[in-house]
């Protein structure tokens, strides 16, 4: 089996490596969203493991474990319908993550932050669910200096909590080693991105590799990714339109597979299950803990403030990978994304990059026909 195929296997069977780690006596620290300082958890001896949903799993446990406990006021109801977040609850409630020792909820967006409350009340009400001990990793959404100081304080708190929760003392040496390993992962993911931009690797394959890096120890991932880079470099280049995907986070490859089945290649994305994982290598010249705090502050939560920066981010990424068109794919109820899209579309089109807007999309693509038709038409328009 090739390395690329093996990594895709870890992506499809997302618990394989974590269960093996657990079976060997290791502790698994689950987390939600992308801005988690994985190196800190790794230096304390944990396997950091990113949670995701499953579009095929449905939401049947929510009726029993979430909705009865959820706040019934109007402010509360605002965050009750975001399916990719609800899918994570479904996975936890259904026992899919029974191997987790701890679960870290970062403030990535309000709907993610609210998971802390949802899981806390469910944990108290339904002990049989075996929801692991929770930790809220707080941060600011604003990117300014004062927020940096606040966020640094939360990193120090998190370190202390890790050490008090069964982790070993986080020394500078351990942290430096974890940072070197994490930076190597970022370098390899950048290589994967570059190969994709060359047309040597599909978007769906790349997305699986990016995701796999969050489901397994870096010490296992990095050599496999190195081999995968070598394998992909020897491939012939794929021709056809080059598309960039922006919008809601995609924790599965369904949309990419559909787009690529239409003849295009997804050469880049701005959502946090993809290429942005390779961003912001940690500063190895700085004291290790300061480097962690700096990256934590600089890595944006689910919303980039201000809007102009979010627009520049998408335009810059799309240009960098040579995209000929951009597909905006926004889930229903992903409200801030839908207020982002018009400005981003306008900027891209002003830069000569056409866009397609797939709005109010379901988390699970039950009927691919409308998306297929829209993408096919978009590709035809690109060629004309």
């Amino acid at each position: 089996m090739g390395a690329l195929e093996e990594l895709q296997g870890f992506y499809r069977q997302r618990d394989t490596a974590a269960r093996a780690w657990k079976a060997q006596g290791g502790k698994v620290l689950g987390y939600v969203s992308s801005s988690m300082p994985e190196e800190l958890a790794a230096a304390a001896g944990f396997l950091p493991y990113r949670l995701s949903g499953d579009p095929q799993a449905g939401f049947d446990t929510l009726g029993r474990y979430y909705y009865p406990l959820a706040d019934k006021s109007l402010p509360g109801s605002r965050v009750m319908s975001l399916e990719f977040v609800n899918a994570i609850m479904q996975a936890v409630f259904s026992g899919r993550y029974d191997f987790l020792d701890y679960l870290v909820i970062p403030y990535a967006r309000k709907a993610v932050l609210a998971l802390y409350t949802h899981f806390s009340v469910a944990r108290a009400a339904y002990p049989e669910l075996k929801i692991p001990e929770l930790y809220l990793l707080d941060r600011t959404i604003t990117p300014f200096y004062a927020g940096g100081l606040y966020n640094r304080g939360r990193i120090l708190d998190f370190k202390a909590w890790l050490e008090a929760s069964g982790g070993h003392p986080v020394t500078d040496g351990l942290l430096a080693a974890a940072i070197a390993e994490g930076n190597e992962t970022r370098r390899l993911l950048s290589e994967i991105s570059a190969l994709r931009a060359q047309g040597r690797i599909l978007g769906a394959e790349a997305l699986a590799v990016f995701g796999a890096s969050r489901f397994m120890p870096k010490a296992t991932f990095n050599p496999l990714a190195e081999r995968a880079v070598g394998e992909a470099g020897a491939r012939t280049t794929r021709t056809g339109p080059r598309l960039f995907v922006s919008g809601s986070p995609l924790d599965n490859t369904d949309l990419y597979a559909l787009i690529e089945d239409c003849g295009a290649t997804v050469v880049g994305e701005s959502h946090d299950w993809g290429a942005p994982m390779a961003d912001l290598p940690l500063n190895t010249a700085a004291p290790p803990l300061e480097a962690i705090a700096e990256r934590f502050h600089k890595s944006p939560p689910d919303l980039i403030f201000p809007l102009d920066a979010a627009v520049a981010d998408v335009v810059g990424r799309a240009k960098a990978c040579g995209a000929e068109g951009v597909v905006f794919h926004v889930y229903r109820h992903d409200d801030h994304e839908l207020f982002d899209v018009p400005a981003k579309r306008a900027a891209l089109e002003a830069a000569g990059i056409p866009t397609l807007y797939l709005q109010e999309q379901p988390y699970r693509i039950e009927d691919p026909a409308p998306v297929r038709a829209a993408v096919t038409q978009f590709l035809a328009d690109l060629r004309s």
Binding site: Y67, K110, G147, V330, A343
Partner: protein, 402 residues
């Protein structure tokens, strides 16, 4: 049998409405004369603008006004035409600036800045887009209410909000929020040329506390008195006095409200023609209210907002009103089911009706807590007046209350 004395509309409501309209006109004139004006998301920073003598508009007030004037559909269409899909109550105000021809009361004057919010990411984006439309700065504040926190909330949190508010907030977030608000305060001083005075802020907070104490008295009169002296629609209309909290006018508006209610109570005047059963509705005004009043004599005397005004009061410690205010910006109130029981009981309600959009057949915590407290509980699927909801409410009244 003597007919009940009924008076459906309070003079205090007419007054607050007239004042609000005059305030907009006066603000427009002041802006035309070169004075600053601010737009601020609700419960973020309004008191500081007020203490600095800068007229400030709370965004959701404007959204509610647009909705009350029946322009939701029009402005939703405006949002769609600008590429913003879906239905977004919070975006209506932005739309009224993008297409000002039908904006309420001739539209808003240009603000000096918009104080945005990270109450939700969408609200922040709308504030940013709105500021772009006005070509003015947008200044966001972190951890706006409500934001989930690891800091524990006691089940009877309402006993803490006034004097023990420091126990309700995460100390790290509080320290940060105070600094963020001070930074914004300095920015506003630079932007507008107005200066901030600790003494004026303290005086404004004391007025606010006085206003909320009067509101609490009004609520107590409403809750204790049968027949209910104030229609729930009027209770909600009086909420406009909230936009002037911390001002002499805010106090005056609510004092008049309290006095008028007391007068009604003394005369035995009720707000409903037919009050047999009293309901708590966990939204605002039930859209099916007239139907159940007429058919069953069931009236909503309280709702989610009934007990909210007095939760705004905060005791100032160490001569630091900004800390008290920032503490309130982090924690205004909790959302637990016990609060429903508290408000329903204080309003002598016979039953509770709440919207449960996702009722999968398992009893909600709200249902369990209310029923355990002896309050019959009904979940309806939406805040709407249609055959299904009317049927549910009707059967509930017939089977549980009659």
């Amino acid at each position: 049998m003597a007919l009940p004395q009924v008076d459906n509309r309070l003079e205090a409501v007419n007054r607050v409405r007239a004042h609000q309209r005059a305030w907009i006109a006066e603000t427009r004139a002041r802006v035309d004369a070169g004075e600053p004006f601010a737009i601020c998301n609700g419960d973020e920073f309004e008191e500081i603008f007020i203490a600095m003598g800068i007229p400030v508009l709370a965004i959701n007030y404007w959204n509610f006004l647009i909705a009350a004037q029946g322009k939701t559909g029009h402005y939703t269409q405006v949002l769609h035409e600008h590429g913003y899909a879906g239905n977004h109550f919070f975006g209506l105000a932005l739309a009224s600036t993008l297409a000002p021809e039908e904006a309420p009361w001739g539209g808003l004057p240009k603000p000096a800045l918009i104080c945005g919010s990270i109450r939700s990411e969408m609200e922040l984006r709308v504030c940013e887009l709105w500021a772009k439309a006005y070509d003015c700065p947008c200044w966001p504040l972190d951890f706006s209410f409500p934001s989930a926190s690891a800091h524990p909330t006691p089940p009877d949190w309402w006993n803490y909000t006034r004097d023990r508010w420091r126990e309700l907030v995460d100390p790290n977030r509080l320290a940060f929020r105070i600094e963020q608000e001070k930074a914004l305060l300095a920015y506003v001083e630079n932007l507008t040329g107005r200066t901030f005075s600790l003494a004026e802020m303290t005086a404004s907070m004391e007025l606010l506390n006085e206003q909320m104490a009067l509101w609490a008295e009004a609520k107590q009169l409403i809750g204790q008195t049968k027949p209910c002296p104030v229609h729930v629609r009027d209770q909600m209309s009086m909420y406009q006095a909230m936009w002037h909290r911390g001002t002499p006018m805010g106090v005056e508006l609510i004092r008049a409200y309290r006095d008028e209610i007391a007068h009604r109570v003394k005369r035995g005047v009720g707000a409903y023609r037919n009050e047999r059963f009293r309901l708590y509705y966990h939204v605002q005004v039930p859209p099916w209210h007239e139907h159940i009043e007429e058919k069953y004599g069931a009236v909503a005397v309280a709702n989610f907002y009934s007990g909210v005004p007095d939760l705004y009061a905060r005791t100032i410690y160490d001569n630091d009103p900004l800390a008290a205010l920032a503490g309130r910006h982090l924690f205004l109130f909790g959302f637990n089911a016990e609060r429903i029981v508290k408000e329903a009981t204080e309003h002598r309600c016979d039953a509770v009706v709440a919207v449960e959009a996702f009722d999968a057949g398992y009893p909600s915590r709200e249902r369990q807590v209310c029923e355990a407290a002896g309050l019959p509980y009904l979940a309806v699927p939406r805040d709407a007046d249609d055959d299904e909801v009317r049927g549910l409410v009707g059967r509930f009244i017939e089977e549980r209350l009659m």
